[in-house]
């Protein structure tokens, strides 16, 4: 079975994602690393993250991992999660405007306030909890995951890709926003598969068996 490198750049807790990957595919060799060579030699790469985008990009740029991720994005299966997804866009409006990795062409924007649901109740930010993921295209990562399954989210910003063709799924809050993106060998999700119980583990398992083809 293949090796998986979970990129460790000091942003947040990697315990859950590592445990979830091991649980989803006990035969996989999961390592948590910041070493460029190990990441470039792994069969596939997971790029997680929580926190603020400025700190994230600063850590990636200082460690040289920005270049590594851009290389990985051209060569092997890559899964971006939460802030890891946002960092793959061109830029984010968080922290007064932050240039990102530009793997996906588009922007990361804040939920516009005040949000109201259909009954006039105000919606909270961060968007936190279990919401439905509406798959827009067939993809190996959606295998055995029912349409509109609930995944766990916690975020205040979301991705707006320039090209609608790379949208893999949307979620309503209260309008539809893009919660998953895919292009070639890269897949990225705003929700946390490692915290989304059975459907989340299934997505991780699908990623661990993905050859990088749509």
């Amino acid at each position: 079975m293949s090796s998986v490198a979970v990129i460790d750049y000091g942003m947040g807790n990697l315990h859950s994602i590592v445990k979830a990957l091991q649980h989803a595919a006990p035969e996989a060799d999961v390592v948590c690393v910041s070493d460029a060579d190990v990441i470039l030699n792994a069969d596939r790469v997971v790029f997680p993250g929580v926190g603020a985008i400025r700190d994230c990009m600063q850590a990636l740029n200082q460690s040289g991992l920005s270049d590594v991720i851009q290389q990985v994005a051209k060569t092997k299966p890559l899964l971006g999660i939460c802030l890891g997804m946002q960092a793959l866009l061109t830029d984010s409006e968080e922290n007064g405007g932050t240039p990102c990795l530009d793997v996906f062409s588009g922007h990361v924007v804040h939920f516009s306030e005040p949000l109201k649901d259909g009954n006039g109740n105000s919606l909270k930010i961060p968007h936190m909890g279990w919401n439905q993921v509406h798959q827009l295209q067939q993809h190996p990562l959606w295998e055995n995951i029912p349409q509109d399954s609930r995944f766990y989210f916690v975020h205040s910003y979301y991705a707006k890709p320039d090209n609608a063709a790379i949208m893999a799924a949307t979620t309503q809050y209260p309008e539809a926003f893009t919660c998953a993106l895919t292009q070639d060998n890269v897949f990225a999700v705003q929700f946390h598969p490692e915290k989304s119980q059975a459907v989340g583990l299934q997505l991780l398992k699908n990623f661990l068996h993905w050859d990088g083809q749509a």
Binding site: V50, M128, G129, W130, V154, Y173, S196
Partner: protein, 257 residues
């Protein structure tokens, strides 16, 4: 089709054992937080909260081991509260596999601790726990103040103003417990819950007083809470999480079934 309201069972853990509401559970499982967490996960809990009530500092490592074990096999969000006083306490809990920490008394003694914690770890993992008690006399407009030390010490601070301040300081969520209702099984303090929920922009978890499944739905519908937390009704195995969700769904609340 929208965000589900959450049901969060809470385990009060003392020296590595769950200390209340275990009398009808199979004796092998009784009091073992890992076993109970597993059961709640199977029943469809949306998150699990551990409240460490261990009195002695020496035994605080036990909660870390509990979280490590649960986080290795239960893949839903985990929150740990109780005795979180330093950035290092938070780091230890997150490294053990917790997703969020609950900060209570430490926020009252030093509000800047919440700001520092949110800056260092992100607002998404900082839950500020507020214990509030009604202080207005009957007939007066309702007013609540916050209490520390498990509701024993008044802090002389207005609960609504405090909740707003904590959000400004970076709290990503508020866990609101009514000290008047806690343990009474009479239901949440709904006016309090609604007042806080309408005053802040972040999600509010209602806590304190749940005695039946309708109380949970009331907290969402009348209290405007985003999530409801309960301990004893689930530990006693009076109700399963699944039953609670069915009841909420029957009252028109969107839940993850």
């Amino acid at each position: 089709m929208s965000l589900a309201k959450r049901i969060i069972p809470c385990l009060d853990v003392d020296n590595g054992r769950v200390v209340k509401g275990v009398k009808f559970v199979d004796i092998r499982d009784a009091g073992d937080p890992v076993e109970i967490a597993r059961r709640y996960d199977r029943e469809g809990a949306d998150e699990i909260t551990f409240l460490d009530i261990t009195a002695t500092h020496d035994n605080r490592d036990t909660i870390v081991h509990v979280v490590e074990q649960v986080a290795s096999e239960v893949f839903i969000p985990l929150t740990v509260g109780g005795g979180i006083r330093t950035l290092d306490d938070i780091r230890r809990m997150l490294n053990a596999g917790a997703d969020k920490v609950g900060i209570n008394s430490a926020a009252v003694f030093n509000p800047d601790f919440v700001r520092e914690a949110a800056e260092r770890f992100g607002s998404q993992c900082i839950v500020v726990a507020i214990d509030a008690k009604k202080v207005s006399a009957p007939g007066e407009p309702s007013r609540w103040e916050i209490f520390t030390h498990g509701g024993r010490k008044p802090a002389g601070i207005d609960a609504i103003a405090w909740a707003k301040k904590m959000v400004d300081f970076g709290a990503g969520e508020i866990l609101l417990t009514s000290m008047d209702r806690d343990g009474t099984r009479e239901g949440f303090d709904l006016p309090l819950t609604r007042a806080i929920s309408e005053a802040v922009t972040v999600p509010v978890i209602a806590s304190g007083g749940v005695g039946n499944l309708d109380h949970l739905a009331d907290g969402i519908i009348d209290g405007k809470a985003d999530a409801v937390l309960a301990a004893s009704i689930f530990h006693f195995a009076e109700y399963t999480i699944g039953q609670a969700k069915q009841q909420m769904a029957s009252r028109g609340i969107e839940v993850r079934l």
